[in-house]
C-alpha cells in the first residue's frame, strides 16, 4: 500500500511551471528521498502534498485522502518540518508545542505527554521552559521536528532536516529519523545532503520541475552507470585499457581512481573471464572490487542535463 500516490501532478505560477506531471508512489513505512537543485520545485511539491496549496492539474492521494477533496484530513494526517523552523521565539519550547497540539485537537493531557516524549527523545526536556528565542539553530530544528510529530502523523515531510546543523546534532536528527522509520512512519525527506539520503532513504526521486528518475539508491546507480568492476593493477593501468575494451562482454572501460573501471552486464559471471584474460595478457592483477558510484555521482549525472 502506498502512503503517497500522485498522478500527473502539476503546478503553475502564472507562466512559470514549478512542478510538471509528477507521478510517484511512496510505499507506506518507507523513507523517500526527494532530491533536486535549488528552485527545482521541491517545496512546491511538499506544499501540494500537505494540502497547503492546490495543484493546477493532476491528482494525489496522501494518507489515503484525496487532495482537493479531503484537504483538512490530509493536514490532520501529515506532519511537516518546513524549510525554516517557524517557531514563536517569545514562547517557551513547551508553550510552542502545547499551542500546536491544541491546533491538532489533542487533549491537554495528551499534548503534555507527547511534548514530553519528543522533547526527551530529542534532548530538549531540560530546556522546555526556556524561551525559544535563546535556542541554537540545532535546538530550534529539533523542536520543529518535535512539533511536526505531536499528533502522531502517518506521514512526515522533512524539508532539509539537518541543514546548517553541526555534525553531532545532524547525527541525532538522522538517528531520530531512523527511529521514526522503525516505528513504521512514512518519511518524505527533502535534502541536499546526498550521503544522508543514501544512508536513510529506501527510495529516491531526483527532481527538477519533473521527476527525472526514481528508485532505490542501488537501482539508480545501476540504471545510470550499470554494474561493473574496478581493477587494481600493478603499475600504470593505462596500457591495459585497450586490452580490456577489446573483450566482447565489456560494455565500457575508463581510468578511475588509479585503476580501470569496467562496465559489465553480469559481473558475477564475467569477472572470472576478465581476470583470466588480463592474466593471460601478462597483467599483474592485484585486486578486483565492485564498481561503486556514490549517490552524488548519480545525482550530478541526473541533474547535469538541462
Amino acid at each position: 500500500m502506498n502512503a503517497i500516490e500522485t498522478t500527473g501532478l502539476t503546478r503553475r505560477f502564472g507562466q512559470r511551471l514549478a512542478v510538471e506531471d509528477l507521478s510517484l508512489a511512496v510505499p507506506l513505512g518507507s523513507v523517500f528521498g526527494f532530491l533536486g537543485p535549488n528552485g527545482a520545485g521541491k517545496t512546491t511539491t511538499v506544499r501540494m502534498l500537505c494540502a497547503l496549496i492546490g495543484p493546477t492539474a493532476g491528482t494525489a492521494c496522501v494518507a489515503g485522502k484525496r487532495l482537493g477533496a479531503e484537504d483538512a484530513a490530509i493536514r490532520r494526517n501529515v506532519g511537516i518540518l518546513t524549510e525554516t523552523p517557524g517557531l514563536y521565539d517569545k514562547l517557551s519550547a513547551l508553550e510552542n508545542l502545547r499551542f500546536f497540539a491544541r491546533l491538532y485537537d489533542l487533549s491537554e493531557a495528551r499534548a503534555l505527554s507527547q511534548a514530553e516524549h519528543y522533547l526527551r527523545m530529542l534532548g530538549l526536556w531540560e530546556r522546555r521552559n526556556d524561551a525559544v528565542g535563546g535556542f541554537s539553530k540545532g535546538m530550534r530544528q529539533k523542536l520543529a521536528i518535535a512539533r511536526s510529530l505531536l499528533h502522531d502523523p502517518a506521514i512526515v515531510f522533512l524539508d532539509e532536516p539537518t541543514a546548517g546543523l553541526d555534525p553531532q546534532a545532524s547525527r541525532t536528527v538522522r538517528d531520530f529519523i531512523k527511529e521514526l522509520r522503525a516505528e513504521g512512519r512514512t518519511i518524505f525527506l527533502t535534502t541536499h545532503n546526498l550521503p544522508e539520503a543514501d544512508e536513510l532513504c529506501d527510495q529516491i526521486g531526483v527532481f527538477r520541475t519533473r521527476l527525472l528518475h526514481s528508485g532505490t539508491p542501488e537501482q539508480l546507480r545501476a540504471t545510470l552507470f550499470g554494474r561493473g568492476t574496478l581493477l587494481r593493477l600493478a603499475g600504470d593501468p593505462a596500457p591495459w585499457r585497450d586490452t580490456v575494451a577489446a573483450l566482447p562482454f565489456v560494455q565500457g572501460v575508463e581510468l578511475r581512481d588509479g585503476g580501470l573501471a569496467v562496465r559489465l552486464s553480469n559481473p558475477d559471471e564475467q569477472n572470472p573471464l576478465l581476470a583470466r584474460a588480463l592474466v593471460a595478457a601478462g597483467a599483474n592483477l592485484r585486486y578486483m572490487e565492485p564498481l561503486e558510484h556514490s549517490l552524488e555521482d548519480v545525482y550530478l549525472e541526473l541533474v547535469k542535463t538541462p
Binding site: I53, G54, Y88, K90, F99
Partner: protein
C-alpha cells in the same frame, strides 16, 4: 471555536512578553484620557474669553447662557470626547499589524497553515486578538473619562452636555465598528508589507477622518447627535462589509503562502 481560543491565548501569551508593544498600546488611551480630564479641569479654572466665538458654541442653542468657564469645559470636553474614536483605530492597527506581519517575518505562517486550522479561524482569531483589547480599552478609557468629567464638571448641566447619549452611543456603537475597520485594513495592508512598522504607519491614515470630524465639530459644521451617530454607524458598517470582503479574499491559505511570504 477551540482553535480560535488557542490562537487567542497564544497571541496574548506572546503579547505578554512584548513590553514595548504593551506600553505603546496603553500609552495612547491613558494619555488621551488624562489630558482630556486635565483640560476639562483647567478650562473650569481658567476661562478662555474666545470660547464663545467658536462655531461649535454658536450653532448649539443648549450652550446659550452658560458661564464662560462652564462653556469652556463643555467645548473642550466634547472635543476630547471625539478623540476617543482614535483609540479603536489606533490600537488594533498596532496589534493586528504586529500580529499578522509578525507571523510573516517570523515565518510561522506555514507551520500554522499546515495544521487543521481553517483559514477563517485564523482570520477571526487574528482579528479578535486585535479587536477585543481595542474595544475594551476604548470603553475602559471612556468610563474613566466619564468618571473624571463627573468629578471635574462645574455643574451637572456641564456633565450632561459633555457626556451626552450621542457620545455614549458613538463610543459603544461606532467604537467597535471603527476597530473592526482598522483590523480589516490591517489585514489588507499586511498582505503587502513585510514590516509591522510600515503596516502601522500606513494604517495610521485611518485616523484622518476622525481628525476631520474633530475640526468640523469645533467649527460648528457638524453636531454629534443621535442621528449623526446612527448615520456614521451605517456608513462604517458598509465600509466594514467592503473591507472585510476584500480582506477575506486576500486571506486565503494559498495566497498567504505563495504571495505573502
Amino acid at each position: 471555536m477551540h482553535h480560535i481560543r488557542a490562537l487567542l491565548e497564544k497571541e496574548w501569551l506572546e503579547l505578554r512578553h512584548e513590553r514595548g508593544l504593551i506600553i505603546s498600546t496603553l500609552a495612547f488611551p491613558l494619555l488621551l484620557t488624562i489630558i482630556g480630564i486635565v483640560a476639562v479641569v483647567a478650562l473650569g479654572r481658567v476661562p478662555d474669553q474666545d470660547t464663545a466665538q467658536l462655531g461649535a458654541v454658536q450653532v448649539d442653542p443648549a450652550l446659550a447662557g452658560l458661564p464662560l468657564e462652564q462653556l469652556g469645559q463643555v467645548v473642550v470636553g466634547r472635543q476630547f470626547g471625539l478623540l476617543f474614536l482614535m483609540m479603536p483605530l489606533f490600537i488594533p492597527s498596532v496589534l493586528a499589524s504586529y500580529s499578522i506581519v509578525g507571523e510573516k517575518t517570523r515565518r510561522t505562517l506555514e507551520p500554522l497553515l499546515a495544521t487543521p486550522l481553517a483559514t477563517w479561524e485564523l482570520l477571526v482569531a487574528k482579528s479578535l486578538a486585535a479587536l477585543l483589547p481595542a474595544v475594551l480599552l476604548t470603553w475602559l478609557a471612556g468610563a474613566i473619562y466619564v468618571g473624571g468629567v463627573a468629578l471635574a464638571a462645574l455643574s451637572p448641566q456641564v456633565f450632561g452636555l459633555i457626556i451626552t447619549p450621542a457620545w455614549l452611543l458613538l463610543l459603544l456603537l461606532c467604537g467597535p465598528l471603527l476597530a473592526l475597520l482598522a483590523v480589516a485594513l490591517a489585514v489588507l495592508i499586511s498582505s503587502r508589507v513585510n514590516d509591522p512598522r510600515s503596516a502601522q504607519q500606513i494604517a495610521g491614515v485611518v485616523v484622518l477622518p476622525i481628525l476631520a470630524l474633530f475640526f468640523s465639530q469645533l467649527l460648528g459644521l457638524v453636531q454629534v447627535n443621535i442621528a449623526f451617530v446612527l448615520a456614521m454607524a451605517l456608513l462604517l458598517l458598509l465600509l466594514n462589509v467592503l473591507t472585510l470582503v476584500l480582506a477575506t479574499r486576500l486571506f486565503q491559505r494559498e495566497a498567504i503562502l505563495t504571495r505573502w511570504t
